[in-house]
């Protein structure tokens, strides 16, 4: 069971759809606690709605769709 409601998760998901985010910056922009944003992102990832993306040394989070779009461009 999630401790977050779908509305809050949607809010995070909408931002994630724009680009890969560090959860730190995302928490600032959404004015939420980083710990909560971390948890929501992990849930969204487990549900297959969000995904990790890496610059090589640093990890970001984005939506599944955005990740696929970016992978396509890499090829």
């Amino acid at each position: 069971m999630s401790e977050f409601d779908e509305e809050t998760k949607q809010k995070v998901l909408e931002k994630l759809a724009t680009k890969p985010w560090s959860t730190r910056d995302l928490a600032k922009v959404l004015q939420m606690k980083k710990k909560d944003v971390d948890k929501i992102c992990k849930e969204l990832i487990a549900e297959g709605r969000a995904a990790y993306w890496s610059s090589g040394s640093t990890t970001y989070v984005t939506t599944k769709e955005k990740l696929e779009e970016m992978e396509e461009k890499r090829r």
Binding site: S22, T23, R24, D25, K34, D38, C41, K42, I45, A46, Y52, W53, S54, S55, G56, S57, T58, T59, L67, M70, E71, R74, R75
Partner: protein, 410 residues
């Protein structure tokens, strides 16, 4: 492959030592796409530029790390390496394998990857070099079935690593293998789900020889040491001397704190242990005669890192001595305080050392719940820092008052 086709690479086949070019050639005999790897490499040497694109895909389902994405800029000319991702596989503590386990990894990698490996990478992981995005998940599934897991990458806890310690080394003051395994298992979420400002590394050495170079690259270095005196077997010291070891020149004169004495007549070695800094030099030269003491534990240093551009930063003593016994609660409690403070206060891509530098050691110690201690030295041969708070100071007597008082009494 003909040497005319790849003249620059063929230079790297000369000489009596092993050559990675020869190994790639051998691999290409049964995996023809590896010829494209040679082709891209030759182009890189010609043009003096890398043709690898970094980043992108990071892992398999549920994981945020363990795969280092690599794509070729020359995908059209070298389609065999268009996607050439690296998989990091968490090594067993001490790098001990059964032949069966090794064979299994190799078979899996023959099937799903290039067949090229690096045993082991500088992170400690088994490095499986070169596979496609499509093969990541099935490869991981097979590895998992064989009992292996991915290691860390990105903004996560990196695969903890340790020296071989008590398994094969008589200098080990702590069970590096047990501690490494325990930390790895305790922090699986931190390892596989990167949410931190940047990378974080634990490295554990059994003694101050620090064979995993934890001091020069780990955010959290755990190094075995001892509290009491070095154990001396004078008979063995004598034997070394008789066999021609110049104890004065090679041991006593090289002691960094000059705390040793050699009695030439009695053939006796004396150590002033209160001034010994546990550098290991004398023990390394006379291993049969000298041994670390019996009261063993570890020293914890923090903030080491080895960035490519700026060069290494040595970690800083934070805990001069700590017991290292399962279940390692004290160490884990400290580590978790550090994770918490860093995650909360660290800026994006800020390692622990930069955070300590920015907020100051005083605030850092306060936050993680450690008392300042004069042994918390940052580097050898410097005074330790000390700090004070306004309220700790006793009100200072005005010197004029003292002098006036003294005058009156005269």
């Amino acid at each position: 492959m003909s040497d005319e086709e790849f003249p620059l690479l063929s230079e790297l086949k000369k000489g009596p030592w092993p050559s990675f070019v020869k190994e790639i050639e051998k691999t290409a005999e049964h995996k023809p796409e590896m010829k494209d790897l040679l082709k891209q490499l030759e182009r890189s040497y010609e043009d003096k530029i890398t043709y690898w694109k970094h980043g992108g895909i990071v892992s398999v389902k549920g994981y945020g790390g363990g795969v280092i994405g690599r794509y070729s800029f020359l995908a059209k000319e070298c389609p065999g390496v268009a996607e050439f991702h690296t998989m990091r596989v968490n090594q067993p503590a001490g790098y001990f394998y059964t032949t069966e386990a090794l064979r299994k990894i190799c078979d899996i990698w023959e099937e799903y990857g290039s067949g090229l490996t690096n045993m082991h990478g500088s992170t400690g992981d088994i490095i499986l070099l070169g596979t496609t995005t499509h093969n990541l998940q099935p490869c991981f599934n097979e590895l998992a079935k064989a009992g292996f897991d991915l290691g860390g990458s990105g903004s996560a806890l990196r695969t903890p690593n340790a020296c071989v310690g008590p398994a094969r080394c008589e200098f080990a003051c702590i069970d590096t293998l047990e501690l490494c395994y325990d930390l790895t298992m305790s922090y699986q979420d931190e390892l596989h789900r990167p949410m931190w400002p940047y990378k974080f590394k634990f490295k554990i050495s059994g003694c101050p020889n620090d064979c995993v170079a934890s001091k020069a690259r780990a955010d959290f270095s755990i190094i075995g040491t001892w509290k009491d005196s070095i154990k001396i077997d004078q008979e063995e010291v004598k034997k070394y001397a008789e066999q021609g070891v110049d104890i004065k020149a090679r041991v006593v004169n090289n002691c960094p704190t000059k705390c040793m004495e050699w009695d030439e007549e009695k053939k006796e070695l004396r150590i002033d242990d209160s001034n010994c800094v546990r550098c290991m030099h004398c023990i390394n030269v006379l291993p049969k005669a000298l041994r670390p003491g019996d009261e063993r534990g570890a020293i914890i240093l923090m903030g080491g890192k080895a960035p490519i551009l700026e060069g290494p930063v040595m970690s800083w003593v934070v805990v001069p001595f700590i017991k290292v016994e399962p279940p390692f609660e004290e160490i884990k409690e400290l580590a978790e305080n550090v994770f918490e403070f860093w995650d909360e206060n660290g800026k994006f891509r800020e390692r622990l050392s930069e955070l300590i530098e920015r907020v100051g050691m005083m605030r850092f110690l306060e936050a993680v719940g450690i008392e300042p201690d004069p042994r918390q030295i940052k580097e050898p041969r410097t005074n330790p820092f000390y700090f004070w708070k306004e309220e700790d100071l006793k009100p200072r007597t005005d010197p004029w008052e003292i002098w006036r008082k003294a005058e009156k009494e005269m």
